[in-house]
Assembly symmetry: C2
Homo-oligomer: 213 residues x 2
DNA sequence: TCGGTTGTGGAATGGATCGTCCATAACGTA
DNA sequence: TACGTTATGGACGATCCATTCCACAACCGA
């Protein structure tokens, strides 16, 4: 019976994400979002509540996407390729930051930096996301250990935390101004220093493991 | 001849820093700073220009301090202790984040995340800071290589970039919600996976190198 | 075709915020 | 002690921004 919505909710959220991504939470005006989406204020507020709720929605979707990218790259596949999957993931993340010519960074980092301290929803969601990424990385490291690539004496939990830190750190130093080539090198180096099994020839720290992405 | 200032500029900048640190640039009101410092708006604007200039001043001082901490911990000292200095520095940075119970994070990361994209001054200053930290780390890594601790085949530039990424990454994942114990473990792990010289017994990845701080 | 319900979009509102202004205070010097 | 100069701090103005409101439009079922 009611009048149906004339807009595509997904598309509106995409536009809103662009705005928040570009100018942060405090720096984005609802007018900007209204103009970017073509919606009137009434529709915007009717559909999403208020600015905070809209941001939470966008932020949550982003976090979901971050984990999904990791799942696509990491989860599932033979143990023999676990190390390659890890390498592919870390390089992909480095490449994302390296090619972010507009220096927008990652909305997860940006949002957490701006709001996590005062907004429990943002804090909780970002913490969940970190935990999910940690689990994915740990699983793959264990797989690579089972296959005999990574030294089985190493604690997979710790190596996973290190890799997560490197991935998030690349984002941070990239935003802080390090050049793209350096960012790519960091990904290479992080993978090169992973402790390999006794039998494995240790990769040289000075050069890169195979880039398969 | 003129009436002298009744406030201590250093103290005012400290208070302003607290505010910007706690609530970010956009989230801090000049009225807050006026109240926190006890200054009236007239004095504030007369002494520091405007909100942007005041932030630049605070941000610049912070960056200087970040580099000074690194210099204190890293620069100068015998090659034989270079590895210990590196360890001390990385652990100190991890400890700083781990003990930041209010989750304020680092103003350098926060400011860069919020403003670097649109504010060339902030972008430039943060990039300078990264470069300075890189240089300090590279120098120490070279020293540790000379002394035969770190594998001399490794590229010190790359290892320095990796360590910088880990340090900044710890800050990022800490703000994103990882627990303090994990943060400390990350520092341990990062140091444990550094490529050691042939003759050196490789540290176990599962446990920590000596903590001297 | 018609009524009820919900969507739409722009005008209006109320509060907050940056920066200015100015009357006054405090200091050094003559 | 008197004067010129700068500091002080609170009131003020102009702007901005999140949110609400409302008159109207669009759709669906009867």
């Amino acid at each position: 019976m009611p009048r149906p919505r004339a807009f595509d909710e997904r598309r509106v959220l995409e536009r809103a994400r662009e705005q928040f991504w570009a100018t942060g939470y405090a720096g984005t005006r609802m007018d900007d979002i209204a103009r970017a989406t073509g919606l009137g204020k009434g529709s915007l507020y009717g559909a999403f509540g208020d600015k905070g709720k809209l941001f939470h929605r966008v932020f949550g979707d982003w976090c979901t996407a971050v984990v999904e990218v990791a799942e696509d790259r990491l989860a599932g596949g033979p143990d023999a390729e676990a190390l390659a999957r890890l390498s592919g993931y870390v390089h992909l993340m480095a490449e994302n930051t390296a090619s972010d010519t507009e220096r927008r960074g990652c909305l997860l980092a940006k949002g957490a930096a701006e709001l996590a301290q005062h907004d429990p929803t943002v804090a909780g969601r970002s913490a969940e996301t970190m935990t999910a990424l940690l689990t994915l990385l740990r699983t793959e490291i264990s797989a690579a250990q089972r296959h005999g690539d990574i030294d089985s004496a190493a604690d997979p939990e710790r190596l996973a935390a290190l890799l997560l830190t490197v991935v998030r750190g690349i984002e941070a130093v990239g935003k802080a101004g390090l050049d793209p080539e350096t960012l790519r090198n960091i990904a290479d180096t992080a993978l090169a220093v992973l402790p390999m099994s006794e039998g494995q020839k240790r990769l040289e720290t000075g050069c890169s493991p195979a880039r398969e992405n």
